[in-house]
Symmetry: C4
Subunit: 233 residues, 4 copies
């Protein structure tokens, strides 16, 4: 019995949701799922088409990025995942895609403004876009530095990763995370939807304003915290 | 025999049309259907994915928003539905979605201009966008106040809910209604289509003008009133 | 044996292509097919959803718009079809839709500029947008006048209906036609595709220029006339 | 046993991917696959709908554009394919489509700027848009000249066809190529995705800047050359 079977199945199933939700073409995305007890995570192998994936093809990697089990090379973004798991103890899964609208905002080097309640249902701030790294970082341990860039951007903005579960990496594409694989994939899907709505909003009204604070707080608290009343509790 | 069976089935079937017509992702929408004799309506339970819904999972609620039957918590938007049913005696069903283009117009805080006959086939005015509520209303009984905001916006514009069966709630998203569940869902679908066409029209020609009155009247009367000649009568 | 069976089947099958090619929602479109010997055409009944259509539900109408056979009321656009069949002897089928991008150009009251060879493969001019009718015409025999508006717009531009098989009716939507039902539906689909590409072209480059004459002629003649070398001859 | 069977099957299967990946409507595209030993390539017949294709319907053509085997007329773009195979010894397959976003950039006569890492994963320069040919070339051997235009544009920019496997032909549409049919079709799909993202990026931020050199090099080298670490090696 494979002691990693559970995260391999979870990572496999979550990866298969990316094409289902139209978040990827070909192999442009990856999901990982962590096992906190074992200190390892399961991640998509690099460059393998989704239709050829299976739970067995997932690669088991530790927080330093070393492959612990599996016959294939892990995703080229593995070191970014590793650093986030190492640094953020409460996350259970990470998703990286090049979904169309979120990637366009990342390429435009702009935060996604909080224009409406769909956005506020999920987070109370603009969706941050981290600037591109400096050349040293890019030429160095690039994927590891990408993780630092994400962590540092949240810190610099005084945002907690438990509250803001999504970010754009400037000129690159989005990363999302969550306590479970379902939540992390949900976040990628919601981000793409919010990114599209924000795009259209700005095209309709270039002077569209930020959602007012009272609405931000109200909608966020409907879904989060002790007084939430959304869902089945 | 459940005396609410008929509206539970109708509400279930209408809710299932939302993903079919691409009006929702995940749980971002809800339909209710009223039973005027019993003075209650059936509504989607809060936060339950569409693929897990059944007629049995619908919640029965009265016009004050009290749950009368059902094991689940009703939609977080229930009080908005309740007030509309209480205030507008002739409607039979209400739909709320965050459909992409309609929500973008709501976020832009702009009415959808009547640019063409597709629009005039359904209503003779711009599609109204109600402004966001003041902070008191938001912090108070928010969903109930959302209902008031909708009712008051139509009143302020001297529009009858029997004629204008759709509205944008500013910074939030659309609500539509109708005499039947099919008509209410139809209205949400048509609204999204009109919203997309109006978006494109404005991008092609920022100075695009309002449809002329003669065409508005002609197209509306083809489909509505005693001299209509659209459909099978 | 029904002597109209052949055009009823052809009209039914062509109508069913409209939802297949994403040219309509609900009942927003109609196709007719003419029988030149009998001097009648088969057309979609008014307001009947596509999934409920059958060859038997098609309505047989003469060139004056009188129903000759069938139990249902014909499309509310029937008089437009009738006048076009009466005036243009060589067409065999007419299609009317409210397809998204073509309708947006119609609402913007702009011709679709000939920006590329995809367009020139099908016609050598901008796709004309007829202006809205004057109020007298609208209040009068509206659908009949719509037919005149189409015919007169082509005349005014010195375009032959055999060459230009598509037009936008300003503030309304497109009409296309062709020698066969397949060709008429093909034209509606191609028009929507050209309309989308032209929209995007103009957004990318507001100063994008018209295709040069040599390319227009070359591409059109590849597909049309005695020296064409596209297709299987 | 047909000695061309292998390239006929490969060309057939690759052509069938074009509608699957939403790169074509009707017959607006074609794929060819070369047999370097025999000095011929298999290409789609002209104007035949994808659903009627079979390996047997592929046409075998030599580098001068002469039909060597097959009962149908080859694609009207055959002479472009022929010249590229003759000139570029290392390519194995060519794809031509009128995919929506890539064609819009071609119609706008603009290169697709390198805005992000999705682009840099595939090539290190803007995607070139060749200007329209002069009238002599158009009126002459047009499809043959189109091949020259492609070859000359790469030369003028000092780009190698082995590195840049895609180009826009101004006012026309894209061509892509690759060592295999799968790679050539992959390139057409990636190009369409990059074209859409670049479109959105420019709409969000008209001043969006080019990706910095360090990121271009990093991402390209992750996937290409001796130090690549993407995929399974």
């Amino acid at each position: 019995m494979d002691k990693y079977q559970s995260i391999k199945v979870a990572a496999y199933e979550a990866n298969m949701l990316l094409p289902k939700y139209n978040l990827v073409v070909f192999t442009f995305g990856n999901v990982s799922v962590v096992d906190r007890k074992e200190g390892v995570f399961a991640i998509k192998p690099s460059g393998v088409p989704y239709e050829k994936l299976s739970p067995e093809s997932m690669v088991i990697v530790d927080y330093e990025g070393n492959t612990v089990a599996g016959n294939l090379r892990p995703s080229s973004d593995t070191l970014t995942h590793a650093l986030l798991y190492k640094s953020w103890e409460k996350i259970g899964s990470i998703v990286h895609t090049h979904s169309t609208y979120a990637t366009a905002w990342a390429q435009a080097l702009q935060d996604i403004p909080i224009f409406g309640t769909t956005h506020a249902d999920h987070l109370v701030t603009d969706i941050p876009c981290a600037p591109p790294m400096n050349d040293e970082m890019i030429k160095g341990n690039y994927e590891h530095e990408t993780g630092f860039q994400i962590i540092n951007e949240l810190k610099a903005r005084k945002l907690a990763y438990e509250d803001v579960e999504m970010i754009l990496v400037g000129n690159h594409a989005p990363f999302t995370w969550g306590k479970t694989a379902d939540k992390a994939v949900y976040n990628s899907t919601v981000l793409e939807s919010i990114a599209q709505m924000a795009y259209l909003t700005k095209q309709i009204n270039p002077n569209a304003g930020r959602l007012k604070d009272a609405l931000i707080v109200k909608h966020y608290e409907r879904k989060h915290g002790g007084n939430s009343y959304y869902g089945q509790g």
